[in-house]
Amino acid sequence: MERHLILEDGTVFSGQGFGAPATTFGEIIFDTASSGYQETITNPIYDGQMIVFAMPVVGADGIHAEAYESINPKIRGMIVHDLAEVSTNRQRRMNLDRFLQQYNIPGLAQVDTRKLIRHLRETGSQKATIVDVVDEHAKDQLAATVLTNKQVQNTATPKAYANPGRGFHIIVIDFGLKHGILRVLGDYDANVTVLPYTTSVDEVLTLDPDGIILSTGPGNPEDLPESVLTLIRVLQTKVPMLGIGLGHELFALANNSALAALPAEYHGMNHPIQEIISKEIIYARQGRGYVVDPDELDSKKLFVTHRDMIDHSIQGLRHREYPAFSVQFFPDGAPGPEEAKRVFLDFFETVVDYVQKNN
């Protein structure tokens, strides 16, 4: 059935609907990665967003149990050029179409996605809606829609839970955690406790962590309560800390630095990221609407460790006094290059040092 995408600036794109026949609203962004659609649409950072895929054929690999980044996808829409129909036999229990139906998420296929991406590249991320009929009513609805700023509340765990292992005790503060982080911590056999971001300093320290990870998450970090920043400020002085994605942005905010919103968000995995100290280049999955503002960085507290070589954005920070650091990119891959996983290796070596020195 023919359905339509209306952008806030009035532009309309038409295509064939798939997934759920729902009408939804969200912020529209584009993704240039050529693999990992399932991981991307289940990544909680995309809560409330619609994603346009540059990859022209999406869905050929079905939906797999091992590729979920969260249990429930939180996207508001998926826009592709060609939806691959695959069966739902034993190897591929689920296909993309059925998956989206199940979670009431609309998809739009046969869209000139290249035109759409080139348009978004110029006009920036904006509100959008997927509808059956393009009329004044639909446009008014879109204009009147106020998108939520409660994405972290929507996606982060309200309750603490454990992911036991036999190694170091790592506490993950959850802002909308993606499974990839837990998967890598599992590779290190870490004994993981995931805590809500509302946990108090005392509650965290009582658990006697060997290291703390500030998780990824959706939305604007400035929408989170000040208590989160206080928590980070105290914990970074006590235990090795690694911030990822939203966690990195919060780490910067907690250390007297400010963020800048990007006109067009970047979602992909093909930008080179250079570690400044060694000039080493890696590639990593990125998904960002905000970056740390280099002009507003408190260089008495933090220094820059990584930069994106294409747009020069800050990709890594480190505290001058404490074993605390952070990365804007996703070092767990899922989807994305594995070479970025070395960030976890650095983290665990820091943890080893910390544990040795404190015993």
């Binding site: 060694s278 001058r320 006094e321 820091t350």
Partner: protein, 175 residues
Amino acid sequence: MANKVVLDQPSMQRALTRITYEILEHNKGGQNLILVGVKTRGEYLAHRIADRLEQLEGEKIPVMAIDITDYRDDRLDHDTQLGLNEQERLNIVDQNIVLVDDVLFTGRTTRAALDALIQIGRPKTITLAVLIDRGHRELPIRADFVGKNIPTAQNEKIQVMVDEIDGEDAVVIEH
């Protein structure tokens, strides 16, 4: 005799990177810092750490090399000559010294280097950075910054190779 690579080029780079971060963290920046490399390979490692610090801080950190082959307490014929000539000597008084060596083993080399340093002047602090800590200490010496702990047997030989001399970066155990 079989050789086993225990640290390849990328891992060696990462170990040096981590040491650099820790030095910065410990020293609260690069102020009043002097790196002293124990010849031969420690000197090259010290230069690499200095290069890394320069990338971050934008300033060159002074590097000095020290040769302690004639200075070991286990040699009978040690004279009182310093392991460095007058031109190479930096003023270390009230500076924060990081002594850089490739392997920490018995601790005797470090001890000799400390002796040599204190003869030149009185630094504010001396810390020790080593790429490899292989255990088997005979003196109460501990490294502040360790690239990699590699437990070894007494009779094994650890060799650190640096690109500048050996044509490649690697750490090898010879059995």
